[in-house]
């Protein structure tokens, strides 16, 4: 097992293409949390409803950046919408992305209009920005608030299938390639959606708890408990589907299994078997399970949930890595494997990936300066709910 086609010696899709589905996953997951509140009236999630919507927005802004970094001819990026080839799944990206961005921006506008108006009353840069966002219309009464609420709910509902489409389509990009046995499965679409939801909830818990700690806020425990249960449930579904995919190929003992087994055993044993499943799936499963089934002291529970959420963020990143890079390690000759490890400082290297992943958090900080993402905390002077 040592022969690869000579053009496969270098991996084509590198760490940027690992990062792209990771970021879109965070978008989709965070948006779905916000919709659980706005559409399905899960009021216990109110504390993070705005925060999740804003998180979805900032990650969405940066989702195309890894793609641009990867393109050989980035100046032609808009050709994907100007001269789309509709037989290609990838051609849908521009339209799905733009449509979803419009929905998210509009939902933010309607959800936060009240806050924008409040901020626009003053003077200074923030007030000017808010007046610009409101297009000068600062009128508000009961009827406009009701209309805003109605529109926000409609857009949140519309956004759910669009979020699934945005991320499911990324899974479809891989799952529809019959040339690659590691990717070619209809389950890929569903796996990507559920892992997206996992990463979205995880990033909200991770970030919310850090923000609360840094500001000295007390956490909204009912909200954390609810997020914990959702995270546990969705991770069980996501990991089960991921395992199901491999088990079905293994059980069928198809021709491809021989090479995929070698891939798992030799090339992906550490990142896939040990890290993705044994460490970063199993430990969060127990941590979240204990929290979901037993009433622990808040302090211990929060530490466990934050640890689990952080580990699941890594788990989903590992899953993306193992799919994107793992699939390219297998030669289409089915007779060998290639190797890949990203450099630190190259155009598509680790440093650039860290920068791209960090930028949305900075934008979110700026967003919070314009309108508070945790208005209840501000109103109550440091607690969003029952507290510890």
């Amino acid at each position: 097992m040592d022969f690869v086609f000579p053009n496969e010696l270098n991996v084509t899709w590198t760490v940027m293409i690992v990062l792209y589905p990771y970021i879109t996953g965070l978008v989709a997951g965070a948006f779905i949390v916000s919709s659980l509140f706005h559409v399905f009236n899960k009021t216990e999630l109110k504390a993070v409803a705005r925060f999740s919507l804003a998180s979805a927005f900032v990650f969405l802004l940066f989702a195309p950046l890894p793609l641009l970094m990867h393109l050989g001819q980035p100046q032609r990026a808009f050709n994907i919408m100007i001269t789309p080839n509709f037989s290609s799944a990838m051609a849908g990206f521009g339209f799905i992305y733009t449509g979803y961005l419009i929905v998210v921006v509009m939902e933010i506008w309607f959800v936060m209009r009240h806050s924008f108006i409040a901020q626009a009353q003053g003077s200074g840069l923030v007030a000017w920005i808010c007046r610009s966002i409101l297009i000068g219309n600062l009128h508000e009464d009961d009827s406009t608030r009701a209309a805003d609420h109605k529109m926000a709910r409609f857009l949140a509902g519309l956004g759910i299938p669009m979020a699934c489409l945005l991320h499911g389509y990324v899974g479809f990009l891989f799952g529809s390639l019959k040339a690659n046995p590691w990717w070619s499965t209809p389950l890929m679409f569903v796996i990507f959606i559920f892992s997206a939801i996992v990463s979205g909830i995880a990033v909200l818990i991770f970030h919310y708890m850090i923000v609360a700690k840094l500001n000295g806020w007390k956490l909204d425990q009912p909200c954390v408990r609810s997020l914990t249960r959702y995270l546990w449930g969705f991770m069980i579904i996501a990991v089960s589907l991921e395992l199901l995919e491999v088990m079905s190929i293994a059980y069928k003992q198809t021709e491809e299994w021989e090479v995929l087994y070698m891939l798992i055993r030799e090339k992906l044993f550490i990142p896939y078997v040990v890290l993705q499943y044994m460490v970063f799936s199993l430990i969060p499963f127990f941590l979240l399970g204990i929290n979901s089934l037993f009433n622990l002291r808040d302090r211990i529970a929060n530490a466990m949930v934050w640890t689990a959420a952080t580990m699941l963020l890594v788990q989903v990143l590992l899953m993306r890595w193992n799919v994107v890079v793992g699939g390219q390690l297998v030669s289409k000759s089915m007779r060998g494997f290639t190797d890949y490890f990203p450099g630190v400082w190259e155009k598509e290297g680790i440093a650039m990936a860290v920068v791209i992943f960090t930028l949305p958090f900075g934008i979110l900080w700026g967003f919070n300066k314009i309108v508070p993402l945790f208005p209840d905390v501000v109103a109550r002077g440091g607690t969003t709910g029952e507290g510890e």
């Binding site: 040592d2 022969f3 690869v4 086609f5 000579p6 053009n7 496969e8 010696l9 270098n10 084509t12 899709w13 793609l67 990867h70 393109l71 050989g72 001819q73 980035p74 032609r76 990026a77 050709n79 994907i80 001269t83 789309p84 080839n85 037989s87 290609s88 799944a89 990838m90 051609a91 990206f93 990009l173 390639l177 019959k178 040339a179 690659n180 390219q328 030669s331 289409k332 000759s333 089915m334 007779r335």
Partner: protein, 248 residues
């Protein structure tokens, strides 16, 4: 187009007259396969390729010719030759002469059989690379050649992933998708692809499937052949004569 081909036939005849027999013979293979109707403009060719694996000697002259003809950068390949060595115990060893000189390293040991298999883009009728290109930069010409439009390609690499044969690559100099073009610039002049032209053993054959009298059409009627990965439904137009079952 037919007019151009007619003129090129004269060029070929001139070359024949010049007595450069070694070079002309393979071109004659191409031109001999062209039907008479093409000169009158009524015939539309549909180009295809055949590899006679029983004739390839692994000299890799085709690889060098391709690199010179198409300025292919080092480290990437529009065509390559695979060497198969199947041991007495059935173990299959495959390698490619990827060095700059494209010469196979000598190897020893007892083998049950050994053979060479030239590979290139299969110019599939239902090419996946065309299907997945998000901007339509990958396309198929009327005469059956799959090409990349260098004014459209965005260099996303999706076609590279989709090609089941490892024939596509991102050119490290242009940062765009690249692959074998059947030397389309030569076809326009009535010349055979550089690899066909260079092959000293006629292991690489090229011709018009629309012409039942072309050498390629006759060969495909008379000899048994295999396609690579036919189960994928890509309908490759590179036909392998005498191909061993071990080749994927």
């Amino acid at each position: 187009m037919p007019h151009d081909r007619n003129r090129s036939r004269r060029e070929v005849l001139k070359m024949l007259a010049a007595g450069s027999g070694l070079l002309v013979f393979p071109i004659g293979t191409l031109t001999a396969s062209e039907p008479e109707a093409s000169a009158e403009g009524a015939h539309k060719p549909y180009w295809a390729y055949a590899v006679d694996t029983t004739r390839c000697i692994g000299c890799c002259a085709c690889m060098r010719a391709c690199r010179d003809e198409n300025d292919v950068p080092e480290g990437v390949f529009r065509t390559w030759v695979e060497r198969y060595r199947i041991g007495m115990d059935g173990e299959v060893k495959v390698d490619v002469a990827t060095g700059n000189d494209h010469v196979f390293e000598p190897v020893g040991g007892e083998v049950a059989k050994a053979f060479f298999v030239p590979k290139l883009c299969n110019h599939c009728e239902k090419s996946v690379c065309n299907q997945v290109c998000p901007v339509g930069a990958a396309y198929q010409t009327d005469d059956g050649v799959v090409l990349v439009d260098s004014k459209q390609c965005i260099g996303c690499g999706y076609c590279v992933q989709a090609c089941p044969y490892g024939s596509r690559f991102i050119n490290p100099e242009t940062h765009m998708a690249d692959k074998c073009t059947f030397c389309y610039h030569r076809l326009d002049k009535g010349l055979a692809p550089a690899c066909v032209h260079t092959c000293p053993r006629e292991a690489r054959l090229f011709g018009d499937l629309n012409d039942p009298k072309s050498k390629l059409s006759v060969l495909l009627r008379q000899r048994s052949y295999r396609l690579l990965k036919p189960e994928l439904g890509t309908h490759p137009k590179c036909y392998y004569l005498g191909l061993d079952r071990e080749v994927i």
